[in-house]
Symmetry: C2
Subunit: 208 residues, 2 copies
């Protein structure tokens, strides 16, 4: 049975973690949420999640998942976290980076020269870290799959399940979570949104 580890750090973004967790935990794999300690970890929006394991006592992982969020910025200088990601991503059969979690993978040195994606606001930052930033929703580079901003973790995780366990398992999960999306607006990507809306978000971004 496969073991999947999802890395948690303060001010992660809730859906970055829970989208992939919802999908991956519906396979035969065991999912563990792992952080520096077992203390509850608070998301950027106040969601409080309790880890299952710590960096010191985590089991071996077949798959490592790294979510993003505003806490990614200070996490870039967290040597213990980055070393854990480097070690576990290097040992894993598959790696999934979501949103700005991809920047943590790049910081850990495992995306050098590889194609990868991240939140649309962070593509330049990803490129500056040595990856080849691709403006797509889900990007594969060998065994490493990365997703764009926040909600893209759902799509990337369904693709990962298809790769690991076959299309039928992925399809079963997609139907079980009734993932037949119907966003009320067609503005989920900067190419589709009004320039003023894109500019408003860019002006508030930590990536300048």
């Amino acid at each position: 049975m496969d073991s999947i580890g999802l890395v948690l750090f303060p001010r992660f973004t809730g859906l970055d973690l829970v989208g992939p967790h919802e999908v991956l935990s519906r396979t035969s794999a065991t999912c563990s949420i792992v952080a520096a300690t077992r203390d509850p970890v608070i998301s950027d929006r106040g969601l409080v999640v309790v880890p299952d394991a710590t960096f010191d006592d985590a089991p071996d992982f077949d798959v490592l998942v790294v979510p993003g969020g505003p806490g990614q910025t200070p996490a870039m200088d967290d040597d213990v976290l980055i070393a854990f990601i480097r070690e576990r991503a290097s040992a894993a059969r598959f790696v999934l980076g979501v949103c700005t979690g991809t920047l943590l993978l790049a910081r850990a040195g495992i995306l050098n020269g590889r194609e990868a994606t991240t939140h649309w606001l962070a593509l330049e930052a990803l490129e500056a870290l040595g990856a080849r930033a691709v403006r797509e929703r889900v990007v594969w580079s060998d065994h490493i799959v990365t997703g764009a901003g926040v909600s893209a973790g759902i799509d990337a995780a369904l693709e990962l399940v298809a790769r690991m366990y076959g299309d039928e398992t992925s399809e079963r999960i997609q139907l079980a979570i009734e993932y037949d999306p119907a966003p009320p607006h067609d503005v989920g990507h900067p190419d589709k949104a009004r320039p003023a809306l894109v500019a408003a978000l860019r002006s508030k971004s930590r990536f300048q």
Copy 2:
């Protein structure tokens, strides 16, 4: 500033809760996750969330959100939970039911004769509880909005934000979470999936 309460109970489905939380917490509103006690609550797939408030000490809510999950079945007989939902849903300006959370709203008596939706496997159960089950992804009945299975909470929450705060706020959030979905398969609704896949999920459902 609006106050939004999200109800938590054992064996909730993670994405039912976190999809709407991710969207709603990006407004000016304050979000509280409320449960019977402040003890951590475990989802059906092992996600452990710590509530912010209890049924006894929760603040007034302008919006009540009720997620679903396998724990909905025992929750139907949890008189304290159902009474809390009845009281708070009756007092709220808006109510959002996601997935089988809609059955809890129906059990609390606030969907009598109203159009509503739920997970595709639970539509008959919803009808049996006195609502008029509608096979759509997001259904409005006056101030009550309901979403279909699991992932539909994201769409329903974006619609609720548009209703409460205007399209521009909802569009900003959709772009911020890069919600430009690209599911790998087109099987997210039973009308689109192979009959064998639908039958396989139905045979394992608690709604027979």
